[in-house]
Amino acid sequence: MHVIVATDGSRQSLAAAKHLKSFADPAKITTISVVAVIRPYAAVAFADDLSPAKATSADFDSLHFRDAADSATKAVAAVFDGWGPKVQVRIRSGSPASEIIKAAKQADAGLVVVAAGSRGLSDTVLLGSTAQRVQHSAPCPVLVVRPAPRKRKK
């Protein structure tokens, strides 16, 4: 079975990858594709919260959203190091939900793993959650990993 693990560079997406590893049987998974989607029209096309801090480039360089996506996918892929299945990373560009679905179709995936980003009010009020749209139109089962409920209000 081919599994797509989506990451938006958030810590929640890393938690989703770990969750998959916590219960799935590596013998039944042939390949894991870690997919990141760059949103070219968004204010920040890709933000990587996962990679350890590295010295920023000394000069005003470009924002290198591709580099951010690249390091985020690698950070997620590292979760599956030595677990068994072949791990590959994919960086796509466009609207996250539709690109994740396309990736799932192309790979003939048996499972898509996504993180549901928000908790609380913004989750219910705001439309267009990527996780919602993926689980609505994915060609295969979808594992939506939700954040653990907060113990108290922040």
Binding site: A43, V44, A53, S62, I91, Q106, G117, R119, G128
Partner: protein, 470 residues
Amino acid sequence: MTDLDTPATRDAEGDGGLRRSITGRLLFFYVLGDVLGSGIYVLIGAVALAVGGAFWVAFAVGITVATITGLAYAELVTKYPQAAGAALYVNKAFDNRPLTFLITVCMLSASFAASGSLATGFASYFNEVWDLPPALLLTIAFIVLLSIVNFIGITESVVINMLMTFVEVAGLIIVMIIGVWYVLQGNADFGILVEFETESSPVLGVISGVALAFFAMTGFENAANVAEETVDPAKTFPRALIGGMVAAGVIYVLVAIAAALTVPLSGLQDAGANDKPALLEVVKEGIIPPPVGFMVILFSIIAMIAITNTTLVSVVTQSRILYGMAREDVVPGVFARIHSARRSPWVALLFSAVVVIGLLMSGADIARLATVTVVFTLFIYALVIVSALKLRGQDEDEDTFIAPLWLLVLGILGNLIVLTYVIYDDPGSLVYCAALLAVGLVLFLAEHFFGSRNSPGGNAVATSTVPKEI
């Protein structure tokens, strides 16, 4: 670029894992939509006021200077597709941190002033449909709403972007149809097209018109935002950028001619003097059969969509610049803070909205804010062309697009002439320029004196937010 060297991406090449999503056609529409919305819907009256009946000349000249600048951008983008705009080009060319910082703040300020001007233009059309809310309240609500939209991130749809561009073009086609209709009826007086009605000489009148018309062409540089995601940028980018600008330019000149022919000059000028939408006067003449009331509302809605589209891009640009600066550690790290779920730089968006609202509340009118934008952009454009020339001979391969040298020299001259005149003509705008630059300086000082704990930069900021999220 290092893209191809990493094992991960080599692995991904097999089934197009490195796919980029912006094709030449999408980029063309992005440029066209971004350019069209900004100027003509908002500023045509002010330009008519400056030049007289021949104001299409001002648009033609402004567009030419801007398109030449576009050539320099195209050249630099083909060399450095990962670079997000003027600041990086200047940095590559001069390697001078203060200058790079200055140009970045100029970009930011230009974008702030442009948003303010566009918001005022939006309110003027809105009041044609529903004449109740006070304009200031409307403009503020407009900016707040667009910031929220960007926070949620629904503007990322490529399809919506294209649809909005189609709507923008449709509005201008309506104006052109009215013009053609009028000419076919045989009422047109083409003499108006060569009439200069300026306080001083026609040349100075045209230059001051050019300065305003120039605002109509700003926005194309935002295409650098998506350069990194463009398919085959060396080939597509110059074509789509220059194509989009030339298309916008032709539409502008035709619309300006149509407006000059159909509406008495005084009507356009009065509208320009009172921040009223002058382009709407064309529709109000009632030249084509559909009822005027209906057409006025339809056209106002189209104009509002056009202005919204361009303002959205400028809000994106502002927050992106702030985010980039925070990552580079020249402004406080909070601007790099990304909302955990929406993946948007919410602090940067919020701050941008506050600055733009401040501009709106200062009581500046459309022309003043447009002038401020133009002062900054002319400076940036001139410096970008200089950078393009300075970077000649470096990082070039057979795919690099090389702009003709004499055109670039002409472009620098054009930018500088207009810049000099704008400052001479409206020294009051310099107060606003200084205020906006001061905002940048304050941010820099804040980071310099209080931001040391955040070093070494954006990545530390990212980690510092982690404990709150777990």
